[in-house]
């Protein structure tokens, strides 16, 4: 299926938000799921998390940062343009129930990914503390949307240009020191999720991370997204994307994310030079 872009917005520098018309996916989408898309006939397949969905309008919303050729080309599409192929909703939905007090940690574009999780947690009457981190002030987006779904929000920037100066783990430690936390959910760059896991392990707080492995098929037939969970091979697309953080081999995944760094650079540079 292809999907028409009904609304686009540049949320911050190089961070875009697209609302696309795809009634079948919108109808089934749940918090924690993603789509696989391809934008031209010679393009690659990439996964993007569903950041919001509206069943009545038949739309889903995706937020992405321009990091390579595919996201660059995607950022050049405008309202009424079509995304050539979109498949979903993929992956298992987040486990949502009344956990008590949940600390939800988001970093970078991962902040868009925690949005539907917050909504679902709120519906189940959880107390929610969100801790969100950006590199700097000009990359801040969706603070209002996160606030609307949380009881408390702590905002951090690495350079202190907005909110508190520091890392999301500083905020997490602060919250843990003053309140009982029943569950932590972290979505963001792998280093951030790894750091969060190191903190929560110390306090033995059940922690869920949403892994951002490289993917090709997104439906279990290829194994490109395989990760080691408790010493066993699991597929992020079929068994995840959310996993018990304490079981994840983060070091291996960090290396696997670099599999095609050189090729990605070449592709991106070539595309930039075209303009």
């Amino acid at each position: 299926m292809s999907a028409k872009i009904v609304k686009m917005e540049e949320l911050a520098k190089d961070i875009f938000c697209y609302e696309v018309e795809t009634p079948l996916i919108a109808n089934k989408a749940k918090a924690g799921q993603f789509v696989i898309l391809r934008i031209h006939q010679k393009g690659e397949r990439i996964p993007l998390t569903i950041a919001d969905f509206d069943r009545e309008k038949g739309t889903i919303t995706m937020v992405f940062q321009v990091l390579g050729k595919t996201t660059l080309l995607l950022s050049r599409l405008r309202e009424n343009d079509h995304i050539l192929n979109i498949l979903g909703p993929q992956g298992n939905p987040s486990e949502i129930k009344d956990f008590g007090h949940v600390a939800v940690v988001g970093g970078g574009v991962g902040i868009a990914a925690i949005h539907p999780i917050l909504k679902a947690l709120k519906e189940k009457n959880n107390k929610i503390t969100s801790i969100i981190g950006y590199r700097s002030k000009e990359l801040v987006f969706w603070e209002d949307k996160i606030k609307a779904q949380s009881h408390e929000v702590l905002v951090y920037t690495n350079d202190g240009s907005y909110g508190k100066a520091g890392l999301v783990t500083d905020g997490l430690k602060e919250v843990i020191s003053r309140e009982k936390i029943d569950r932590v959910i972290a979505v963001g760059p792998l280093v951030m999720m790894d750091a969060v896991t190191k903190v929560t392990k110390e306090y033995n707080i059940p922690t869920i991370v949403s892994l951002n492995s490289l993917m090709v098929c997104g439906m279990g037939m290829c194994g490109a997204c395989r990760v080691t969970i408790n010493g066993k091979i699991k597929f992020t697309c079929m068994d995840g994307p959310e996993f018990n953080a304490f079981a994840v081999d983060f070091d291996e995944l960090k290396k696997r994310l670099n599999s095609y760094k050189e090729e990605e650079k070449i592709c991106y540079k070539k595309e930039l030079e075209k303009c």
Binding site: M1, K42, E44, N85, P89, G220, N258, E264
Partner: protein, 464 residues
């Protein structure tokens, strides 16, 4: 009594030294004179053992006779009675184990090259322009899940019967394993496209990027007004060996490697956006057709050395003889009675070597009827490789099991069916690898056809 010509007409093919530099098809196919000469060797036996060896029971002696009479149209019409995709089966069927294995001439010389003759008439028709049978439309609609060989065969058969047919495919391109799995040099994608085009001309509707189980469920399909559903989703998840180091960079499942190459054209990286790693020294683990496809693809992409590691001997290899022969000709080094025990990486997590152990065959057999293998203690050795492809088979994708209430599965995750491809759910039929495990294209096609007949019967007898 007709005099037996013991030697088959040889198939002209690209020489090994040439073909490892391209992805073009290896055998060229018979021309008219060659086909007629080969067809004339057929004894036209009364008891037709070849037909019993064919999973879809093509009237083999009859179509061969038509070739000798130069009536190629009638020849292909006969094949089409039971085989919807002859351009494909003529290329990828293991004829040497099926129809040709039963050929009477084969007892004294080369069997009749039935596959090559099938390919000849199928290609003849393709070149001439496809003929679409006249179809009397019916009101009922059937949904087909998966556009691989089982789904396409089922779709073709149902379309001829007049049903409205919609095929749902999860990938962005149609064809299933014919497109993502089997390489261009063995099955040109143009041929797959032409066969799909024929189905479109017959009114079959195709929907890509729909994963049944996620985008829509089996139940949704009934609610959308489909009277029956055929599930032909294939074998699904790749198996890994579960040995240390298997997630190192440079190690692929055969499915991933072949999908990157065949579906996403990663070998034309630069023009296409999907990358693939090609090492200097590579190994493929496994002994089936998929392992041969992976090894032969690799050798075309430039590694200095490609090994094929297999734990038994050439005798037990499940791959087609022709594939093994082609792989050896193309310079792939086979390491028999060898099994990887761990992969060794460098500081960046990239594969640099594989440690293997020598194996011996035991006298006992396993559940598949093949001899069990045992490692020889102390025989470990290390092979320097920076790329490895794991081609040891697949297992069923659990998605439909998780999302379809009431559909019965075997303990290994395959769907349970009866002899008419009927599942435990009324109106739901299944066939191909999701039922049989990893089998052949023609077995899957045979299932698709049988299911189509059962679906027709089901719809005709269904009370309104």
């Amino acid at each position: 009594m007709k005099e037996i010509v013991k030697t088959a007409v040889p198939m002209r093919e690209q020489p090994a030294g040439e073909r490892i530099k391209n992805f073009d098809e290896v055998p060229f196919g018979y021309n008219e004179e060659e086909a007629i000469k080969e067809a004339s060797r057929c004894l036209q036996c009364k008891n037709r053992p070849c037909v019993s060896g064919c999973p879809v029971a093509i009237r083999i002696p009859d179509f061969i006779k038509k070739i000798t009479e130069r009536d190629f149209q009638k020849a292909i019409d006969i094949i089409h009675e039971t085989d919807s995709l002859p351009c494909i089966t003529g290329r990828v069927c293991p004829q040497e184990e099926q129809c040709q294995a039963k050929c009477v001439v084969g007892k004294v010389g080369d069997p009749i090259m039935i596959g090559r003759l099938e390919r000849f008439v199928a290609d003849w028709e393709l070149k001439k322009g496809l003929k679409i049978p006249e179809i009397k439309k019916r009101n009922e609609k059937v949904a087909i899940v998966g556009s691989g060989p089982a789904g396409l065969a089922c779709a073709g058969e149902l379309a001829i019967k007049g049903f409205g047919v919609t095929v749902f495919e999860a990938f962005h391109e149609l064809g299933g394993v014919l497109t993502y799995g089997i390489p261009e040099f063995r099955l040109p994608k143009e041929i797959v496209k032409a066969e799909i085009e024929r189905l479109k001309m017959m009114g079959v509707e195709f929907k890509t990027d729909v994963l049944i189980g996620r985008t829509l469920t089996i139940n949704d399909l009934f609610e959308l007004g489909y009277s029956a559903i055929f599930i032909g989703v294939g074998a699904g998840l790749p198996r890994f060996m579960n040995i240390p180091g298997e997630n190192l960079i440079g190690i692929y499942s055969a499915n991933e490697f072949l999908t990157r190459i065949n579906l996403l054209k990663a070998y034309k990286f630069g023009e296409y956006d999907t990358p693939v790693y090609i090492g200097k020294r590579a190994c493929v683990v496994g002994g089936g057709n998929v392992a041969m496809d992976a090894a032969r693809t690799l050798i075309r992409l430039g590694p200095e050395k490609v090994y094929l590691i297999y734990r038994r001997t050439i005798e037990e290899m499940p791959a087609r003889k022709e594939e093994i022969h082609h792989a050896l000709e193309e310079g792939i080094e086979f390491l028999y009675l060898t099994n990887p025990v761990r992969f060794i990486g460098d500081e960046n997590g990239h594969l640099k070597a594989v440690e293997c152990v020598k194996m011996k065959l035991s006298s006992e057999t396993d559940e598949s009827g093949r001899k069990k293998t045992l490692p020889i203690p102390g025989s470990e050795f290390t092979l320097e490789v920076d790329e490895a492809i794991i081609a040891i088979g697949t297992k069923a994708n659990p998605l439909l099991q998780i999302t379809t209430q009431g559909l019965k599965f075997k303990p290994n995750g395959q769907i349970e069916v009866d002899e008419y491809c009927r599942t435990s759910l009324k109106g739901v039929f299944a066939g191909g690898d999701i039922v049989n495990g990893s089998a052949t294209v023609v077995t899957a096609m045979g299932d698709g056809r049988r299911a189509a007949m059962a679906i027709e019967e089901y719809i005709n007898t269904k009370k309104p």
